[in-house]
């Protein structure tokens, strides 16, 4: 797990470095702003999918939503 933390940190630092190298101008971001280009759960159906995975699998997290509840059964 320590190795994973280290690698993840290195990746994040790398992205931060890359971020300083490239720049997308505001008027070039039309496509990035489209709904299908967003990260994470966007719709109510996305949300219920994430909650279902949360209830049926051991791994969880990373989607931005799941809501509460025990997820039993």
């Amino acid at each position: 797990m320590k190795r994973l933390i280290f690698r993840s940190f290195i990746l994040m630092v790398s992205i931060a470095y890359l971020a300083s190298c490239a720049e997308v101008k505001p008027w070039q971001k039309e496509n990035l702003a489209k709904p299908e280009m967003q990260f994470g759960d966007q719709t109510l159906s996305d949300r219920i999918k994430s909650h279902t995975y949360f209830s049926k699998e051991s791994a969880h997290g990373g989607t931005g939503s799941s809501s509460g509840g025990c997820g039993c059964n």
Binding site: L4, E23, P26, E36, S45, K49, T52, G61, S67, C70
Partner: protein, 399 residues
Amino acid sequence: MAITKKITPTLAALTASAAAMPGISGFASAASPITEPRISISTSSYQEQAIDGIRTTGTDNADRYDIEVGQFQLVAPMGDNAEIDFRLAKDRMSGASPWFVVEGADGEPVQVMSGATIDDERKDASLEYKHFNDSSAISVILGISSENDYLSHNIGVVVDQELNNNNTTVSVGYSFSDDNITATDSELFFSRPEKENKSVQLLSLNVSHAVNKNLAFQTGLSYEVQKGFLSDPYKLVMVNNIPLADSRPDSRYALIYVANLRQYFPKSTAALKIDYRYYADNWGIDSHTLSLIWHQNLTNNWSVAPMVRYYKQNEADFFANYLVTAENQASIHHSSDYRLSKFDAVSYGLTLTKQIGRMGIELSAEQYESTDSRKPGDSRTSPGLVDFSLVSLSASYEF
């Protein structure tokens, strides 16, 4: 679509993620509040397929879970610099649930179901307030989830900071959940505790970046700590043919890493969405999840999005279908919960959307199939793995 007040609206595309957790839902626009209220409603039907060759207790009805879900969402501006996101959900659950596992006549494990005795309802509500500054935003989320045997209160805070001329967003989130478990029929079953508690804390750091005008990338790391009663009060484990209560460690530490990519193809008016997640915890579970979605825009405001998702996990250290052991060597922790076993699953689905003026309609269907790759004598995989279908119909209206 959100109209910017001070910051470019497109940074909404780069909002950092927070790991899935009650109290953190922050994926809405990091850059600017919405300008018009939006209402969404949704109904979903979840159905689990029956397992071949299962046993039940006292009833022939071995149908697994069916859940009907209704959801409501209101997103509205609050002045010029803030917005609220209010959500309600109600689930109606019924059916049979895996109870314990016994050794079959051929020596292979056989799942025993609870019988169709479960009939429950879950109500979930959350309210998020998000305040926007020049190049940052802060969200506070309160939530409650209630079932007849479970009550969860949660709170979360997410801070987004834009950097690099709004091409990079760094997001830090923290959430806390306090859950109370009051098992039903605890007076009838020795294995069910009358009242227990657990807490869940999550800390997450995410970075999103616009690589170029058609490519965005996001990566994140989350750390989750669960403390308290983490067992399933309704499941049993056969130890030397004696049913014992499901028993798990009272702490769980998990690390979650995500890497997500969005690539837009202007000539095809399509987007490729790739999401990867690695999960590891101190119960010995490692997991990989990869999902691919191709979002194709069509004429007349139609769009279609086929998806495929692959999930894989290994078993928890204390997972066992059943145990045969010397009396003084029985472990403290043991569980036959299929969700703690080794398995992989593939799901595939399709989402169809249509925009009619200010109204959007979405129909989504998914089939989830656990891969039954268990070899004879393999004790790491449960016979109770689940296959299910999920169909949702949603509508939203922006005023």
